[in-house]
């Protein structure tokens, strides 16, 4: 019984620590979306592993400017991202811009897009929890 109690207490503190780490990751990424941008209200998160690509389907409205922030771990540049239109024409790739952790996009017309995110080949991180955040201003 005593061992069980100790186990529960230890697991509780491990849980709290892990939760704190997850919150830290969100806060770290959210720092790239300043208050001049309104969050779209969603947190796009998924585990990513070396060599894999996570794909996100997105709609961007014409006349709006968006900020996309991409993070994996609490270090900028671990996660690279590319934006494609529905015909898979590349619109942007963060590796062309020093693995920028965030970028702004101005859409003159509404466009259906795909965002692909993957761990940077330059990063020592082999697996991580990826978070993508999107903010907008009309």
């Amino acid at each position: 019984m005593k061992i069980l109690l100790i186990s529960v207490i230890l697991s509780f503190f491990t849980i709290l620590k892990a939760e704190a780490q997850a919150d830290t990751l969100l806060k770290f990424c959210a720092a790239h979306i300043p208050s001049s941008y309104i969050s779209d209200g969603q947190v796009y998160q998924t585990p990513v592993f070396e060599g894999e690509t996570a794909e996100f389907a997105l709609t961007f409205y014409g006349g709006s400017t968006y900020r996309i922030a991409a993070c994996a771990g609490v270090e900028d540049g671990n996660l690279t991202f590319s934006l494609y239109d529905k015909d898979r024409n590349e619109l942007f790739c963060s590796t062309d811009h020093n693995n920028a952790p965030f970028w702004d996009f101005k859409f003159t017309s509404t466009v259906e897009c795909y965002l692909e995110a993957q761990l940077s080949t330059e990063s020592t991180v082999k697996s991580a929890f990826a978070i993508i955040l999107i903010g907008f201003k009309n």
Binding site: I15, S35, I38, V48, F56, T59
Partner: protein, 308 residues
């Protein structure tokens, strides 16, 4: 600190997700998800197969209802208070299904109120969202700091919009990490449905008809994404209301599928110093009046069922 069993389970699930991710195991707390992810991890080792990971949850985006309301204002459409859902009806929603959908509905209404500077109305809708998120057991979304910020900024429409967007983001994050993705998806669905209801009932006439019709047409893709968000739970929750709701959205998507969207790719322009890329590609779509009326009728019926 005393944790309830439910809260403790939530911590366990959240930690399970986080730790498994760190340890190199994909998963969202469900065996099917883990199995799927493992298959896809295996698939990516085969150079002949796609390396794109597709996991059930959170790979589909639905634009914010807070943003859509702003477009109505930009089109100079009049504010119609009678379109708003009744904020005092919040206590009528006793199931998590209805609570989640109406959390989204009230959020969209909040965006509408905010866009039209009807700030005295905003407090009731903030209160309604707070009440429902509390009923849903969403933690952290309305901490004391947030409440304090709302009170201090009750006269600042930009601050209110910003804070509201953070509340929804925090709720989404909490629900995802508590293995309650279906609740998060329903909140998004409620917000989207209310936005389309507001758009189609905003008064389509005059010089802005074309723009408003385009905005309605453009809901084709968010609707498809919304269905993909909800689909993993179809038939799995033992909730006939959930399944019927998704079937109704699919019917609606059938109407949108008839819309032909013409897309033209154009080169982008990037300003490295401003960290800005301008996307010049164009989409054009048009709706017949009859199609708009069908959409308006369907979404009005669906939305009225949500708020009943």
């Amino acid at each position: 600190m005393i944790l309830s069993a439910k809260k403790y389970c939530g911590y366990l699930l959240a930690t399970g997700i986080f730790l498994s991710a760190c340890a190199g195991n994909a998963g969202g707390g469900k065996k099917t998800d883990v199995d799927t992810s493992k298959k896809e991890q295996t698939a990516q080792l085969d150079p002949n197969k796609s390396a794109i990971v597709k996991i059930n949850n959170r790979l589909f985006s639905v634009p914010s209802p807070l943003q859509l309301a702003g477009f109505l204002k930009e089109l100079n459409l009049p504010f119609k208070k009678e379109l708003l859902s009744d904020a005092s009806a919040r206590q009528n929603y006793t199931t998590s299904f209805k609570q989640a959908l109406n959390t989204g509905v009230y959020g969209a209404d909040l965006g509408y109120i905010n866009a039209y500077d009807q700030l005295p109305e905003a407090a009731a809708y903030f209160s309604a969202v707070r009440f429902l998120t509390s009923e849903l057991g969403i933690l952290n979304s309305f901490n004391e700091e947030t409440i304090s910020r709302i009170e201090k900024n009750s006269g600042d429409k930009d601050s209110l919009l910003y804070i509201a967007s953070l509340i929804y983001r925090e709720s989404d994050y909490y629900l995802t990490n508590s293995d309650r993705n279906e609740i998060g998806a329903l909140i998004i669905a409620g917000g989207w449905a209310e936005s389309l209801y507001l758009m189609t009932n905003a008064g389509i006439s005059g010089g802005n008809t074309k723009k408003l019709c385009e905005l309605i047409c453009e809901q084709k893709y968010p609707l498809n994404n919304l269905i993909e968000l909800l689909r993993p739970y179809y038939g799995k929750l033992g909730n006939v209301n959930y399944d019927t709701f998704l079937e109704n959205l699919s019917d609606l998507a059938g109407i949108f599928d008839e819309i032909n969207v013409k897309y033209t790719f154009r080169d982008t322009k990037t300003d490295e110093n401003k960290r800005l890329t301008v996307i010049n590609s164009e989409s054009n779509a048009a709706l017949e009046d009859a199609q708009i009326e069908v959409i308006r009728t369907k979404i009005t019926k669906l939305r009225n069922e949500i708020i009943q």
